[in-house]
Each structure stands twice: as C-alpha cells, then as structure tokens.
C-alpha cells in the first residue's frame, strides 16, 4: 500500500505576518512549522505504515527551505520526500496550488492521498478537495478517524451537528483534522535518517499534464485587491473599581444607559 501525504510548511502565526509589496505573503520573513492538520495526516499515514507496512511519501510545494519540513516528516518515520519548487509557481492561489500538486502527484503511485484539512495561514480548506477534483478521485474531508480494510477505507467524517461513517474505494483523498490523533515525535534514528535522506526536487518541467496558464500568480483566478493588518474597533472604557459593589453598580449603570435591562 502506498500513501502520499501532502504537507505544508506554514508560518507560525504567533510570530507576526509579513507581506511583499504586491500583497502576497513574504514567507521568507516568517518562522516556519509543519502545519498542524498536515501533521495529523502524516501520523495517520505512519499508523498505516506500522499496521500494514504502507510506504509513506511526503510531498510539499514551496521555497527550497520547505525541504526542512520533509526532513522533519522523514525523522518522524516517512520513507521519501518530494519538494516541488520553482520560481514560476510563486504567488499561487488555491486553484494554482492544487493544479501544481496534482501535476506532481500524477508522477507518483498511490492508493491513498492524505492532506490536512486546512493550513493555519490561509485557513481555506480548499486545496485538498481541489487536488481530488483535478485527479478525478473521491474526496472525504474533515476526517476524525481513518480505517483501511483491503481496498476500502472507512472514515469518520465530521459535520457541524453530526458525523457520517463513510466508505470509499481506494484510490481516494482524505483531508485530516488535527484532532484525528496525537502525532509522534521525531526519533534519534529518524533524525539521523532524515539528515542523510535524499529529497527529490521537482520543478515546473516535472509537472505532468499541467498548462502554464494555470500556475503561479498569473495562473491564479483570485487576485488580491488589498491586504492589511486588521483594524480593530478602539477600546472603550476601562475601570478599576475599589469593590465588587462598585463594579456591579458601574455595569448596571451602563446597561441601563443602553436600555439593555
């Protein structure tokens, strides 16, 4: 059984956010971590490796330094890493990103593709289902549980007020929720392997059945009109009352003023 996990090196949003002059992200200027939902997807794949001896390939698209996230995945137990990187792929929206990743996946054998539900920078949850669409695969989003039996996979699919137990025939694509599992740590042996591991690097020319007009900033149907730090409504009043009684009479006074009682 072959599993490909699509992972992303995301900015740690706690470290602040930087933009290029054209409004796209300046990823080079931000701290980078393995996206949490993707890490849960990787752990799910590694459990299939533990259980059935599945071969696990991790794939990412990004700047050359995104190879770090592939090495981290190998240190956790993944077998191979593929980095898709090319200047012409920069500034891609979810359509151009999913087109690119689908083009890379067409070169690989897989029974199962796992992606994270969404990335902590964009929060869009779009790339996983869009990859499945480009590849003509069934997609099961928001997986809380994954079980493989023969050529079938059963997934607990989360909805707002319920879950469905869904069965699909492989090959298929699953998007993982971070609550799927607790990802394992890197092992010392794994870190040793990761340092030695050769990362396969693919550029534009290696993408299969993809047209130039669907790649990068130019191939992105969505365009950024404006990006900015969020302007928040200003602070109102703040009081430091001497006693709880004073606090209560302040609040009740304000509520009466606004006719809220």
């Amino acid at each position: 059984m072959k599993v490909v996990v699509c992972i992303k090196q995301g900015p740690d949003t706690k470290g602040g956010v930087k933009f290029n002059p054209d409004g796209t992200l300046d990823r080079g200027a931000m701290l980078a971590i393995m996206n949490p939902d993707d890490k849960a997807g990787l752990e799910a794949a590694l459990r299939l490796k533990d259980q059935y001896g599945a071969e696990v390939t991790v794939l990412t698209m990004g700047l050359p330094k995104a190879a770090d996230v592939l090495r981290e995945a190998i240190a956790m137990g993944a077998d191979k890493g593929v980095l898709v990187t090319d200047r012409v792929l920069g500034g891609a929206d979810t359509w151009a990103t999913s087109t690119t990743i689908a083009g890379a996946l067409r070169n690989l054998d897989y029974d199962l593709i796992i992606t994270g539900r969404q990335a902590i920078d964009g929060d869009t949850a779009q790339v996983g289902p869009q990859i499945a669409e480009h590849l003509g695969l069934p997609v099961i989003s928001y997986a809380q549980e994954i079980k493989v039996d023969g050529d079938k996979v059963t997934v607990r699919r989360q909805y707002d007020d319920r879950y469905h137990m869904v069965e699909a025939k492989m090959p298929c694509l699953i998007t993982a929720l971070s609550e799927l599992n607790d990802p394992r740590y890197m092992t010392p042996g794994g870190i040793f392997d990761a340092c030695k591991a050769e990362i396969t690097t693919w550029g534009r020319a290696d993408l299969k059945d993809v047209e130039d007009c669907n790649l990068g900033l130019a191939g992105s149907p969505t365009k950024i009109a404006k990006a900015s730090d969020k302007v928040r409504k200003g602070a109102g009043e703040k009081v430091v009352p001497e006693s709880p009684e004073e606090a209560v009479s302040y609040i009740v006074g304000k509520m009466n003023e606004k006719h809220l009682i």
């Binding site: 359509w95 669409e133 069934p138 900015s228 969020k230 703040k238 209560v248 009682i261």
Partner: protein
C-alpha cells in the same frame, strides 16, 4: 469564457434533513443587497431529496427564483452528487456570483465545484461588496479597471490580517461565507418565487462514497449564534463547576452561556458553545466576556457584538482593547452580585 454571459447572484441553499439551514437565509439577505447595484435577480439553488416544500421559505427570505435539483441520490450530503448538481446548475444557468456557506458542507462542496467549473473561490468571507478592481486604476491603464466586481474580504492568519480578493477574469465569482456574519431580511409572508426543476442525471461512479452510518449529536443546548445576550466564560472561570455563576447570570439577563477555546480544550464545555476563529462567529446585543483574556482568535468571533462588557482580573488583558466597558476585578465576587443586582433592577422595572 465570455464573462458577459454570466448573470445573477446565486446562493447554495443548504438544507440538512430537509430543513433549511440558517446560512441559506443569511446568504439570501446578502445576495439581495449585491443584486441591487448589478440590477439582477437572486436565485437559490436547492439540492436534496424531496425538498420542494422548502421553496416557500426561501422565497420569503428573498429568492426571486429557485432552481431545485431533487434526486434520491441527494438524500444525505455526499461530495460527488452534490458537486455534480451544483456544477451542472452553474454550467447550465451561468451565474455571475455563486455564494456558499462556509459550513462543514460548504467548505467541501465549494472547492470541489470551483475546481470543476475552473473558477476562483475565496474562503470564509466576512464582507462582500460590489466595486472596482483594481480598487484604484493603474495610471495609464485606466481603461483596464473592471467595474461591478465582487470584492470578497476575509480574515487570514488566525485573524491577524484581512485581505480583499477579486476574481476578475473567471465566472462565476465564488465565495464561501462565514455563518452568523450576514443579515437575513425580515421574511415577506406569502412571497413567491419562480421555481425551476432541473436534474442533470445521477449515475454513481468511483467518486460516489457510501454512507454506512449517520450519527447525530444530541443537541441539548441553545444555539449561541441565535442568542441576543451571551455570557461567555474563559479559562479564568477556573472550573466546569464554577460556570454555574455564569449560568445564573445568563438566566437573569435572558441570555445563553458560551465560552472560549481554552474552556473547550479543558473539557469544561462542549465545542458547540465555542466562540472564535475555530468556533462560531457571534454578534449578540450584549456579550459578557468573563475571565477571557481576549486572544485574537477569540476576538475574531465576537468583536461585532453591539456591546461588549469584560470582567477580568488582569488589567493588561487584550480583551479590554475591544470591550466597550471593561471592569478589572475578581469575577468570583462580581458575577454573583451582578446577577442579584440585575434581578433586582428587573423586578423594579416590572413594578
């Protein structure tokens, strides 16, 4: 793609168990606003099995026209038959704008359909407007500025930034919209819409998954998105048991208890009650933030509340940056007394 062929504002009218989801009405409210400057009509796309009865309420909430795709394959939500239904509607009727709720259904359906019809999709929008792209014409290229574009604004980076996005060269312009953000219209009793039945044919293929089991969560709590007053607690409340004092306050003010992510993570309250970027967006008339520090991800879900009252013992808590009225103090002492005072105030007004 001839962009001129694409007309009208369309809404995916999400239904589950043959009940229209509130997001459908919210999207209709917004669609009506967007349709006015475009001088066009609002179409609801209703997809399901035996769902025709739901057309009446969609008309009352603002649909001028309803396209119904009704087929037994569409009984419970599955990506493929629903995506086939919506993509077929788009290919047949050519909407200019297609809005979908950013629900656990819409965030799966939207990307699949946008990839199938080869257009852009902007996720989790909180503001939608009609305007120009680029916002300001490029000097020397004034004639290239496009008018009457859908401008889609969304938070990103856990609410740290906002971006406004356009889709100038592809149609439809597609967006998923955060629940609880757009306003429904006051329903017009007896309003009628033109109803079109459309069935593109459903032949199961490899993409049709099998639903083995449907397990519904037991709902014993009120929906926090409908509440006029929310009494919201954070880590500072201290324990699941101590939420009792918030529940008493909620009862006194006629509100509902909600909470921050820390509370859900600690297992004190279920996820249904969580306000914030990864929870629900709320905008009640009054939001009490009690023992909530005010992390950006929480504020993103409640900052549109009309009046925010914060109680926190930490004078530097960021919640005071968004609160209209901030009180620095011990919630354990203030909240019970506040409950008593509000009860007394109400009793006085009733006499």
């Amino acid at each position: 793609m001839n962009l001129e062929e694409y007309k009208g504002v369309y809404v995916f009218a999400q239904q589950v168990d043959n009940k229209v989801d509130s997001i459908a009405y919210e999207l209709l409210g917004k669609a009506k606003e967007l349709a006015a400057p475009l001088n066009t009509q609002v179409t609801a796309v209703l997809i399901g099995s035996n769902v025709k009865d739901l057309c009446g309420s969609l008309a009352e909430y603002g649909a001028d026209r309803i396209i119904v795709v009704d087929d037994p394959e569409l009984k419970d939500y599955r990506t493929e038959p629903y995506a086939h239904a919506l993509a077929s509607v788009i290919n047949e009727y050519k909407p200019e704008i297609m809005l979908v709720g950013a629900t656990a259904i819409g965030r799966d359906l939207g990307p699949t359909v946008s990839a199938r019809v080869a257009t852009g999709l902007t996720a989790d929008c909180t503001v939608l407007e009609i305007g120009d792209f680029p916002l300001v014409p490029i000097p020397g290229k004034e004639s290239e500025q496009k008018h009457n574009q859908l401008l889609m604004t969304r938070p990103a980076f856990g609410g740290n930034t906002i971006a406004t996005i356009a889709c100038p060269n592809n149609r439809p312009q597609m967006a998923t919209v955060r629940p609880g953000v757009m306003q429904k219209i006051e329903p017009v009793k007896g309003a009628k819409a033109e109803i079109i039945e459309f069935n593109p044919g459903f032949t199961p293929n490899n993409k049709y998954v099998t639903i083995k089991e449907v397990v519904k969560a037991v709902k014993d709590v009120a929906d926090i998105m409908d509440a006029k007053v929310l009494v919201s607690g954070g880590r500072g409340v201290g324990s699941a048991e101590n939420f009792k004092i918030l529940e008493e306050l909620a009862e006194a003010v006629g509100g509902v208890v909600s909470c921050s992510r820390a509370v859900v993570d600690s297992g004190w309250k279920p996820k249904d009650l969580q306000v914030g970027q990864t929870g629900k967006t709320v905008r009640p008339n009054v939001y009490f933030a009690i023992g909530i520090s005010g992390a950006i991800q929480h504020v993103a879900g409640m900052e549109e509340s009309d009046v925010i009252i914060a109680i926190n013992k930490d004078e530097d808590a960021p919640i005071f940056d968004v609160a209209d009225y901030g009180v620095v103090g011990d919630l354990n002492k203030i909240v019970p007394q506040l409950t008593a005072a509000i009860k007394a105030e109400k009793a006085k007004k009733n006499n």
